[in-house]
C-alpha cells in the first residue's frame, strides 16, 4: 500500500517541583497513601483558591528555550470545564489562548525537523480506581503541575517518533525539568494519528486520537496497528472516523474509547482567581542559560573538549549520574587524563561504584602492573626521543605541548600500558628520575 503516517504528538510532562501547581501540598506523591497529599485547594473545597507555582512555570520556560520557542511575557491561566469525578472543581486550570510558549522546533538526528506548536501549563487530575462495584478517587495527583507540549503533525514514521521521544526525555533530564519516568506517569504521550497517500501534501480530514497508553512500546504498536487499520479503510474508499482509541494489550489491537463527532466545548474563560502572569524580560533571560545543559551541547563538549568516542558520549549522555561522576573525577584527577577516565568508566561497571580515591588507585595499579620495570620504560622513552628529536628539542625549549606529544608516542608504543604521570616525570627528570 502506498500510504504514509501523519502523526502529531501531545506530550504531558510532570515537572520536578517541591509542591503542587496551585497549593503547597508536597509534590512527592509517588506510591503515597491515597488522599494523603491533599488540601482544600487541590480537593476543590468551597472557597479554596489557587496560587501558581513559580518553579513549575520556570521548568516550562526552560523547555521552551530548549526548543527555541517564543516566550510569552504576557500570559494567563484559563478554566477548562468538564465534569468528571477526578476533576474536583468541575474545571481544570489550564492555558487557552496565551500559553507560556509558542512556536519552536527540534531537529532530529538525520535532519528531520519537528515543529512545536505550543507548550502550556496545566494541573493534573486525580485518579479513579474501580473496586468491585465501587469507584474510589485518589486526589493525590490532583493539582500536580503538568506541562503540555503539542507538536505539529510532522512525524511520518515510528522511527521519527522514537528518536524524538528519546531526545525529549534526555532534554527533560539534562535540564532537570523532569525525571520523565513513563512508568511513574511523569511522561505521557498522546498521538493524533492519520494516514494519507504518499505524495499527498494536504493533511487528512480526520484524525484518530490514541490516548491512555502508558508505555512507549505499546504506543508504537498501537500506531502500527492504526496504520494498517486506517489504510484499509481508506483503501476501501471510506474515511476513518474521528475518534479516541486505546490499546488492548491482550488482543494486540486498538479499541474505540469515544467518538468525537462534534468539537468539545470546554467553555474556556480567563481564570479570575489568578491575575495575568507578566514575566520580566530580564527574568526570562536569566533562564535562557539552561540551554548550555542541552544534551546536544554536552555531546559537543565531550567530543571537542575531551575527545571522547561516540560510544562513550552515548553512555554518558544516557546516564546523567555517571556523567556527573565523570566530571567530578576529571576535576579531582591531576595526572590521569579524561579519556582514560571515560574509558574505564564506560568499560567497567565496577569502576563506576568506586570512590574517587579507589578509582584512581585502580587506574594507577592497572597501568603500573603492566610496565613495572622502570628501566624498560626508560628504554622505550629513549627510543621515542630518538625518533622524535625535534619534539624533544622543543620540549627542552619550554614547549609544553611537545611533552604531551612525546607521552602520546610512548603510549602508542606501549599500547597504553605506561603511566602517563611516570613517563612525564622521567622525561622531565623529576622525582629522582632521569633518562640515564
Amino acid at each position: 500500500m502506498n500510504y504514509e503516517l501523519v502523526i502529531g504528538l501531545e506530550v504531558h510532562i510532570q515537572p520536578n517541583t517541591k509542591s503542587k501547581m496551585f497549593c503547597s501540598c508536597s509534590a512527592d506523591i509517588f506510591a503515597a497513601k491515597p488522599n494523603s497529599h491533599t488540601c482544600p485547594t487541590c480537593l476543590g473545597l468551597p472557597g479554596a483558591l489557587p496560587v501558581p507555582n513559580k518553579m513549575a512555570i520556570e521548568q516550562l520556560i526552560k523547555l521552551g528555550f530548549a526548543f527555541g520557542c517564543n516566550i510569552n511575557l504576557n500570559s494567563k491561566f484559563d478554566r477548562k470545564h468538564y465534569y468528571y469525578p477526578d476533576l474536583p472543581k468541575g474545571y481544570q486550570i489550564s492555558q487557552y489562548d496565551k500559553p507560556f510558549c509558542v512556536g519552536g522546533k527540534v531537529v532530529l538526528e538525520g535532519g528531520k525537523e519537528i515543529r512545536i506548536t505550543r507548550i502550556h501549563m496545566e494541573e493534573d487530575t486525580g485518579k479513579l480506581s474501580h473496586v468491585e462495584n465501587k469507584t474510589l478517587v485518589d486526589y493525590n495527583r490532583s493539582g500536580m503541575p503538568l506541562i503540555e507540549l503539542v507538536t505539529e503533525p510532522d512525524f511520518k514514521s515510528l522511527q521519527d517518533l522514537d528518536i524524538f521521544t528519546r531526545e525529549l526525555r534526555l532534554i527533560l533530564r539534562h535540564l532537570n525539568i523532569s525525571d520523565a519516568d513513563m512508568e511513574k506517569g511523569q511522561l505521557r504521550l498522546e498521538a493524533n494519528v492519520s494516514v494519507r497517500k504518499i505524495g499527498e501534501v494536504n493533511l487528512p480530514n480526520y484524525k484518530v486520537e490514541l490516548k491512555n497508553i502508558n508505555s512507549f512500546k505499546f504506543m508504537l504498536k498501537a500506531i502500527e496497528f492504526e496504520f494498517k487499520r486506517q489504510s484499509e479503510i481508506l483503501e476501501s474508499g471510506k474515511t476513518p472516523a474521528q475518534e479516541t482509541r486505546g490499546w488492548n494489550e491482550n488482543k494486540n489491537e486498538t479499541f474505540l474509547q469515544r467518538t468525537k463527532e462534534t468539537a468539545d466545548d470546554y467553555r474556556y474563560f480567563p481564570e479570575p482567581d489568578i491575575p495575568p502572569i507578566l514575566l520580566k524580560q530580564s527574568y526570562v533571560d536569566s533562564l535562557a542559560k539552561c540551554v548550555d545543559d542541552l544534551p546536544i551541547i554536552k555531546r559537543e563538549r565531550l567530543k571537542n573538549e575531551l575527545g571522547l568516542s561516540e560510544h562513550e558520549i552515548n553512555v554518558f549522555i544516557n546516564d546523567l549520574g555517571l556523567l556527573k561522576h565523570f566530571y567530578e573525577l576529571i576535576k579531582l584527577s591531576e595526572i590521569v587524563n579524561a579519556k582514560d577516565i571515560a574509558k574505564k568508566l564506560v568499560n567497567s561497571k565496577e569502576s563506576q561504584k568506586l570512590s574517587a580515591q579507589e578509582f584512581f588507585d585502580l587506574l594507577k595499579n592497572e597501568k603500573s602492573s603492566v610496565i613495572t620495570n622502570i628501566d624498560e620504560l626508560k628504554e622505550i622513552i629513549k627510543t621515542v626521543i630518538t625518533e622524535n628529536q625535534k619534539a624533544y628539542e622543543d620540549f627542552k625549549n619550554g614547549n609544553e605541548n611537545s611533552i604531551q606529544f612525546l607521552v602520546g608516542q610512548v603510549m602508542k608504543k606501549t599500547k597504553g600500558k605506561a603511566d602517563a604521570g611516570v613517563v612525564i616525570n622521567i622525561i622531565k627528570g623529576l622525582n629522582g628520575n632521569s633518562l640515564n
Partner: protein
Amino acid sequence: MTINDFEKKYNKEDINEYLAQVKEQDKKINSFLYLKKDLSKEIGVPIAIKDMISTKGIVTTAGSKILENYIPPYNATVIDKLERNGYFVIGKTNMDEFAMGSSTENSAYFTTKNPKDLSLVPGGSSGGSAAAVSAGFVPVSLGTDTGGSIRQPASFCGIVGFCPSYGAVSRYGVIAMASSFDQVGVFANNIKDTKAVFDTIRGKDEKDATSFDLPSEKVSESNIIKIGIPENILEGVSKEVKIAFENTVTSLKKNGIEFVQVANTNLQQALAVYYILVPSEVSSNLARFDGVKYGKRENAEDLIELYTKTRTKYLGSEPKRRTIIGTYALSAGYSDKYYKKANILRQQVKDYYTKIFESVDLIMTPTTPTTAFKIGAVQTPIELYLGDIYTTVTKLAGLPAISIPANTNDKLPVGIQFIAGHKKDLQLLQISEKIEQCLQTY
C-alpha cells in the same frame, strides 16, 4: 449596639446570658442559620459571619441545601485574622443561596425579617448579617458583596455597610459566587467599628493571588472634600429616597463639602454587563457542587444521573437560572457575542471611573432606588436585578463603596452610597467618618 456598647454592657460572666437573649430575640428575625451553643470559652467581641465564609468545624451552607451537611476542615483567612485579634464567631447568618438574591428570600432555609419592620425583607444577599447588627444582636458582622450584597441590606436595615476594593480582603475560604466580583466586607453601626473590623481582616494573603496591601496615605485635613454626583442619578428613585438624598447633600454642603455634577455611565448597560459576567463565573464556580466529594448526593445508576439528580434536587432556582445563563454565555459561538463583549464594556466602566476620580474624591449615589420592600412583593428576577442598579456598577470596576444611613424622618431607613477610587478604601473611610459626623445619624 456598637463595639463600645457591647464591652460596657456584657462581662465575661454573663456572656451566655447574652447568647440566650440573642437566641430568643432571633426567633422573630431569623438572622442566624447557626448560633454557637456556649460562649463561655470565647474572648472578645462577638461577630456574626455570613454563611458564605468557611468556618472550621462549623457547618457552612452558603444558604444552599446542597451544602446542608458540609463542615469545612479549614477557616477562611478572614476568620483566622478575626480570631487572632479579639473577635469571636457567635454564629453563621442567613443569606440568599450562594449569594444570589437581594432579600434572603432565595435562602434554601428561611427568609430573614427586617428588624425595622418585620413585614419587610432585610435585603440581601447578606440579609442575615445586616439584620443581626440592625437588631442589636452583634455590634459587627461580615458579609460578602458581589453586586451590592452588603450595601443594599445595610441600606434596608439602617446600618453602615462597607464593600472594600476588590482584592483588599482575602477571599481564601469564601465560597465563590463570581470570583472577579466577590469581596468580603463589614456591617456595623458606625464608621469606627467598620474600620476596626476592616483593619483586622484586610491585607495581602499568600493564599489569595488577587489580594494586596492597601496604600496608607491619608487625605489632608485641610483639603476641601469634593463629591461628584452623576447626572440624572435620581431618575426613577422613590420619593423617600429622593428626599433623603437631597437632605444629605444639604447637610454635607453646610459642613463645607463641595459638590459637582459628573457624567453618568450607562447604568442599564452596566447592569446587563454584570448579568452576563456574573452568571458566567457562577456557572463555573458552582460546577464543583456535583455530589461526588462533599455535600448532598442523590443515589444514581450512573455518573450523569448522579450529577443531574443531585444538582436538580439540591440547587435552588436562582443558582440554576444563572448556571444556565452563564453556560450559554460561555459556549462556543456565543462567548464572543456575550462574555467577551461584556468584558470590553467592563473595561469601559473602569475607564469611566478612572476619569471621574481625577476630579473628585468620592461619588455619591443612592444605595438603592427604593426602601426595603415587602416579603413576597417582588415577583420577577428582572425586578430584583434592577434594584441593584447603583451597586452592581461599582463592582465592574472593583471599587470600594460604603452605604451610610441618611438622616430621615421616615420610619424606613435610606442608605446613601459613597464610592471611592480603586484602593482608596482608607481615604473613603476617613471621609466617611466626617460625613457621619455631619449627618449626626447616631
